[in-house]
């Protein structure tokens, strides 16, 4: 048995058994490794950090996509930044009301390899006629995008190191604000409160977003293969409030079957522990 091991902090490690490493490549942007094992199925890492595995990808992808649609069921134009595995696009495309999805992923190899090795997330995405795939830097993409061109931006990024770094900057959040419609919503990968290094990134991101958007929340979910299993998304918005405006009936009328998300859990996800609220102050 082989073990993929991730250092969650200097003093904490998480390991997953795999049968074989099925692919490895160093692209211009990062190191990509695909593994296959019994319990977690196929999984891949970027620069040695767990990104997606077949056992719990549904949790992350439910939670990055559905809370925004339950808050504003009228979303039609969506921009995905990152998200190269395709899982976020897959969930967005389940809404037949969505007309246009742009996905700006810096590293085309991530997407191509997921098409080959991880069809559970990547399959069908490129084929959908509403989809525009752009293999370019997300920060560069929003810099050049027209004002108010999207209802929703989903930042499905790595941690703020290497290729993910620009997606945690004030400039990036400002550009997101600009390209969002007057009712626009920004969801961003918001790190985690438990281990010090991740908590620092969480605080920094929140501080920046708070100065730009009038409505800012953070919500949580249980993602066992990410450090500490306690992971966050940011919910920033120009007009919609994810608690006051969430419309359970309308969302349930979409008829989208989910394995993690539901509208009760939606409300609960915003109920953060005191130590997290304190850190976000």
């Amino acid at each position: 048995m082989n073990w993929y091991t991730e250092q969650w902090s200097q003093n904490c490690r998480f390991s997953i058994a795999y049968d074989k490493e099925i692919y490895s490549e160093k692209t211009a942007f990062q190191q990509i490794d695909f593994y296959q094992g019994e319990e977690f199925g196929t999984f891949f890492t970027l620069d040695g950090l767990m990104m997606v595995n077949e056992k719990d990808e549904f949790i992350y992808h439910d939670m990055i996509v559905h809370p925004a649609f339950a808050t504003n069921p009228g979303i039609k134009k969506v921009l995905i930044i990152g998200g190269g595995d395709g899982g976020t696009a897959r969930e967005v495309l389940r809404y037949s009301s969505v007309e246009e999805v742009v996905m700006a992923e810096i590293d085309e190899r991530v997407f191509r390899l997921c098409q080959q090795y991880l069809p559970v997330t990547a399959s069908g995405v490129e084929e959908d006629s509403r989809m525009e795939l752009r293999f370019e830097d997300g920060l560069e993409y929003v810099r050049n995008a027209a004002d108010q061109s999207f209802d929703l931006i989903l930042v499905d990024s790595t941690d703020p190191i290497s290729v993910g770094e620009g997606l945690f900057t004030t400039e990036f959040y400002n550009e997101c604000y600009r390209v969002l419609n007057k009712d626009g919503i920004l969801i961003n990968q918001h790190e985690s409160p438990y281990f010090a290094e991740y908590a620092e990134n969480m605080k920094k991101a929140h501080r920046k977003i708070k100065t730009i958007f009038p409505i800012t929340h953070v919500y949580q979910y249980h993602m066992p293969t990410y450090p500490s299993g306690h992971w966050l998304f940011g919910f920033a918005s120009k007009s919609f409030d994810p608690l006051k405006d969430m419309d359970a009936n309308t969302w349930n009328d979409f008829g989208i079957k989910t394995k993690y998300y539901n509208t009760d859990l939606h409300k609960g996800a915003f109920g953060l522990p005191n130590y997290v609220k304190e850190a976000l102050k």
Copy 2:
């Protein structure tokens, strides 16, 4: 650097660095080991499974105690089954309205060693005049207890193996029902939904409790050092509903400062993911 490693499933491992093992003892009931390290402080394991560490014990102890008090602020008589580290008793004793706390812990050595090595949870418990410490089997204790003698039972047990096994039986839950007052609440350590073996125990416990109590819920919290970080308590009750009857104002009037629990999070904790609801059906 030394590593304490716990097998979360056949294919998943969690490891914590420690500087030294500070104490080790095989009692009549179990293997007890105390470690000390930088990030997690002092921690101890029973039969090689993480029980309590200084970094996140506050999460578990907040969540086993406070939801019941926010649902019924009139709780006066409390029975703790297990809980040898003292952390559950510590939180209960913060309510000046509580008149009597019985703690039935099978292994006195756990409590004595925590008094010595883990004062953060055990200190002050024995000295409180409202406290009755009984070092005996929890199942045996409830068998012999009088009808309707407690307002609240907190089952702070290990997993359903070795000494914890009896605390997951129908007989035990029946006895709990009998010794609870007409408004009584039972909170029990309810395992976890993510890894198969734990999920099996979760399902079994819920099936049994549902046949006995008229009101049964399961609630969740983020406990990073327990397998998957997604951990559950059961909330079973004769009359109080933890969502309808939770009184935020009254609980906040207690003025109890908590690092994890708050009344918004209380409501959210009962919003389970679909895959967990499905498993509990």
